[in-house]
Amino acid sequence: MAAITREPVDVLIVGAGASGAAAAWRLSEAGLDVLCLEQGDWTDHARAASAEPDWEVRRDREWNPYPNHRKLAVDYPINDSDTPILPLMYNGVGGSTLHWGCCFPRLHPSDFRVRTLDGVADDWPLDYFELEPYYELNDRMMGISGIAGDPANPRRAPRPLPPISLGRGAERMAAAFDRLGWHWWPMDVAVNSRPYGDDRGACNYCGPCDLGCPQRARASTDVTYWPAALGNGARLQTSARVVEITLDARGRASGAQWIDTAGNTWHQAARVVILAANGVGTARLLLLSTSRRFPDGLANSSGLVGANLMHHVTGMVTGIFDDDLEAYKGPFAASIFSQEFYETDASRGTVRGLQLMQIRGDGPLGTAIGRYLPQIPWGADHHERLLARLGRTAALTVTTEDLPRPGNRVSLDPGLVDSSGLPCPALHYEIDDNTWALLGYGSERGQEVFSEAGAAEIVTQRLVPGTGFHLLGTAKMGDDPATSVVDRFGQAHDVPNLFVVDGSTFVTCGAVNPTSTIQALALRTAEHIVEGRRALEAAA
């Protein structure tokens, strides 16, 4: 069936999550005609799962972060039989920020220079200080709670909002870090400690940020960037699944073909196309967009589209305390972190480092079922054991540098299709020795600090499989077209009017949560496109 064609726009963005929203705002702010295609839909925060009596059950159903388990029509299945990590993501306006822990650390200056400093992977083609103004702008747009002065990171501007309350567990752990002489600091988080913006309230410490936020205190991009972008005149087409990026006779991107939920095929013409579909979705779309000019996938002359998948492999150490920490109070991942072991230390026998980050506790069902701890056994002692654990836990995630390896990659699985019949991605991923050693070292340090804090019992999981939230590296950034997919501005080497703004472009991933860096890069790319507007007009 012939596609229904639509008038060209200046910029077409694929994906309405963290990066697509940021780019849409900046571009529309500059007066460009922006349209975003998103396969999911809007979320009604007033009807969030966190406001339902069975909220803990829903966490394992339609709000499960694992699309293969969730199986919503807007999701695409992922073949993950060749990886120990479960890929996690969410499709909708806001993308995975609808489902996140809201942690907002930044990469360190050293993360951009790992080849120079440590002889591994590659340096980024930009440095921390080039990105810093965009980090700051993004912090203001998202509304970040925190406090400046962290000695583990370069100085940053006063945070837009004061820190979120730590609660008993983090206060206990902070004192233990102090006694050990180890770094700790309140995490910058995208959760309002006070009302922020026109209609976003303050956090009321309910706990499950991953289940939606009727207060609009949690900064998903559907409540931060999108209202501003739409106010600027940007347009957002939901329930639009992009099939391929199309090309003109000169080999430039001409737009995208997409299908709606009724099965109609559309073609949206555009002068510039931006991919913002995360490190799996963007690679998938590029690999699906084959042509005579690009038989191995669009923008893939380097052969690196899909390669170098990075996740941040994560371990977890949990302390169970005798006294009540009321650990179910407060945003589950907004707490404190330690970057004492962030940098390379030759005495450890590893390169690069790790971050320890505290998370709060579960509700009764999560505690009983053992989301992150062994299940509470059934039987006569069940109730007593539940009360001995509920609210009495604190956990530290061990997030490690995850150095890129070409064999860790996204490919297409033609035998697995989504609800529209499109081939789905397959992930191939192995944990390398360095990462495994970092996980072990971090777990031991976690045990040490819990012991110092007086935990009655310490449970260690060196690897937590269900933590593949971070999907990075599959359209690597670099100056050399032979060894990278996009340039320092996210512009495809092979297709000059095609940009990538999601985590695909990461050269390395550091040991911190990536969203603030993803969005800062997206703002920088958008700025670059705005500055190149004359060229855009010439192209038109």
Binding site: E52, P53, W185, L365
Partner: protein
């Protein structure tokens, strides 16, 4: 009839009475087990557990019943784990159960929103020691 009776007794052994609260079977939670999507996804799992129970299960005393269940937990681990998951799912969304927990802890029964919790505000004096530390991030040549 027998299936429901069996399920009630099994649930009472898994999640027994406590304080003034009846066991999960006595609370009438058996009916909701089959409606759990987990049970849907593993059709027959609950019946597999029930079929593995000794014929005189209902006539045995509690400790004997527990031993039978422990044996099934070992020998038919997958089906039994489905039973545990759906039983816990049903039990821990029941308002009577959550109210009991609320009576023993600071946990609030009912959904987290819109009530939320009160927490002491951030105490900046906690930073007294770490704030004195000199910046130690690794410097990089431009």
């Amino acid at each position: 009839m027998r299936r429901r009776e069996l399920l009630d007794v099994v649930l009472d052994r898994l999640l027994p009475p406590v304080d003034e609260l009846g066991g999960a079977g006595a609370l009438g939670l058996a009916a909701s087990l089959d409606r759990d999507p987990l049970a849907d996804a593993a059709p027959g799992a609950l019946d597999e557990v029930l079929a593995a129970l000794p014929k005189d299960f209902l006539d045995r005393d509690g400790e004997d019943q527990d031993r039978s269940l422990q044996q099934i937990e070992t020998q038919q681990a997958e089906a039994f784990s489905i039973l545990i998951s759906v039983a816990y799912n049903a039990y821990y969304v029941d308002p009577r159960v959550l109210e009991r927990i609320e009576g023993r802890t600071a946990y609030k029964a009912g959904p987290p929103q819109p009530r939320g919790y009160e927490i002491e505000p951030f105490d900046e004096t906690l930073l007294a020691q770490i704030s004195r530390r000199e910046p130690f991030w690794r410097k990089v040549d431009p």
